[in-house]
């Protein structure tokens, strides 16, 4: 069984394993814009970015654009997608709208980009959990067959982000469940809604790794079953965010 944390030296809550297994299952299946093999290749590229010489060189440069080159990859993904994965993984604080627009000009649509973001952030996070506990990384799943759905939510529209999103009042039909019934949703909750399943995955992972989305905006509210108080959780969250230069 994947993510068999019962074998770990640490007593890891069952919901961690459930959330991580669910994501691995989802990762292997066709998404909206990438097939299973491409989605797993995106996950593999996340892991490659950790030891990528080009990424390391760019990270040291005053501007990432000052260093030209291509990242090594297995050829499953278009080069533009590999570039997106590596930059989001290794140098996120210097991304720009011009860079995202440039990806689009090279053929990476806004929706395919958002699906890519969703995969990158989930894999970074799950791998980080393993690293934090000194556990080996889980082998990537075997891709499932099938074609991407091509689904683009009709209610997505341009907003304050670089990519279109679904506002809470427009989340109807297939997207009724998207925001857990919250009347107002912070921007980070809406950011990936051009690919609704990316938002759903975010909610499931957040509930296991952090707290349930519905109580995020309720300071002082503790999540049952946690060994950390809310303030302790927010201190860790704030420190990790600050070191990553997260303004949001």
């Amino acid at each position: 069984m994947v993510f068999s944390y019962s074998d770990s030296v640490y007593p890891i809550r069952a919901d961690f394993g459930e959330a991580h297994r669910a994501y691995w299952h989802e990762l292997a299946r066709p998404g909206c814009w990438w097939n299973g093999a491409e989605r797993v290749a995106i996950a593999a590229a996340v892991r490659s970015a950790r030891d990528c010489g080009l990424c390391a060189e760019r990270k040291q440069a005053l501007s990432p654009n000052a260093v030209q080159g291509e990242h090594a990859h297995a050829g499953v993904l278009p080069t533009v997608a590999v570039e997106a994965v590596h930059r989001i993984t290794s140098d996120p604080s210097r991304l720009s709208k011009a860079w995202v627009d440039g990806l689009a000009k090279q053929g990476l649509s806004d929706a395919a980009y958002v699906e890519t973001v969703g995969i990158v952030v989930a894999v970074v996070s799950i791998d980080s959990f393993h690293r934090n506990l000194g556990l080996p990384l889980e082998p990537l799943p075997k891709p499932e067959g099938g074609e991407p759905s091509g689904y683009r939510p009709p209610s997505a529209e341009p907003g304050e982000a670089w990519v279109p999103w679904i506002r809470p009042e427009k989340a109807s039909g297939s997207e009724t469940d998207l925001y857990f019934g919250m009347a107002r949703v912070p921007h980070v909750g809406m950011a990936m809604s051009l690919v609704p399943d990316a938002v759903r995955s975010m909610g499931r992972l957040s509930e296991a790794q952090y707290i349930a989305p519905a109580i995020v905006a309720m300071p002082g509210r503790n999540q049952p079953g946690r060994a950390l108080e809310r303030a302790q959780i927010e201190l860790v969250a704030g420190r990790v965010s600050a070191l990553n230069e997260c303004f949001y």
Binding site: R13, V100, Q209, E229, L235, V236, R239, F247
Partner: protein
């Protein structure tokens, strides 16, 4: 903001500067060990991470250490979602956190350029209205 307001809800005062300056005492129970572990998670070698993992486990117990590992991992994700999609701060949050952002120095972060500057009048109102922050957050949670 969530750290400060979590303290306020419990009648305690926590110092949010601890997130940008590890030498500042947060006032949060076991804050020093939690900050050291979180720091090692982002910037430390495997050996440093192991050292702070063991220290946190010794201080708080293994379940708390595992929870902290999960939270740290989760925020490696959240920062990339925000940075890769260019989202600005939600407008009311931008207004009410002007003073806090200046205090923490986070207006200097590159991604700050995605949030429009708050005008002087609104910034002053935001400082005066900080006690309303909890009500604002409840509003955002759809409970108002």
């Amino acid at each position: 903001m969530l750290l400060r307001e979590s303290g306020a809800m419990e009648g305690r005062v926590f110092d949010p500067r601890a997130v940008t300056d590890a030498s500042v005492a947060s006032g949060v129970p076991f804050g020093e060990e939690l900050v050291a572990f979180a720091s090692a998670s982002v910037t430390g070698s495997e050996a440093e991470l192991a050292q702070h993992r063991e220290a946190l486990e010794a201080a708080m117990g293994v379940e708390a250490m595992v929870d902290a590992a999960g939270v740290a991992a989760n925020f490696e994700r959240m920062v990339r979602i925000a940075d890769a999609t260019g989202i600005p701060l939600d407008k009311p949050v931008a207004v009410f956190t002007v003073g806090l952002r200046q205090e923490l120095g986070i207006d200097a972060f590159g991604a700050a350029r995605n949030t429009p500057k708050v005008g002087a009048l609104l910034a002053a109102l935001g400082r005066l209205g900080q006690p309303l922050a909890r009500r604002l957050m409840a509003h955002y949670a759809g409970r108002s």
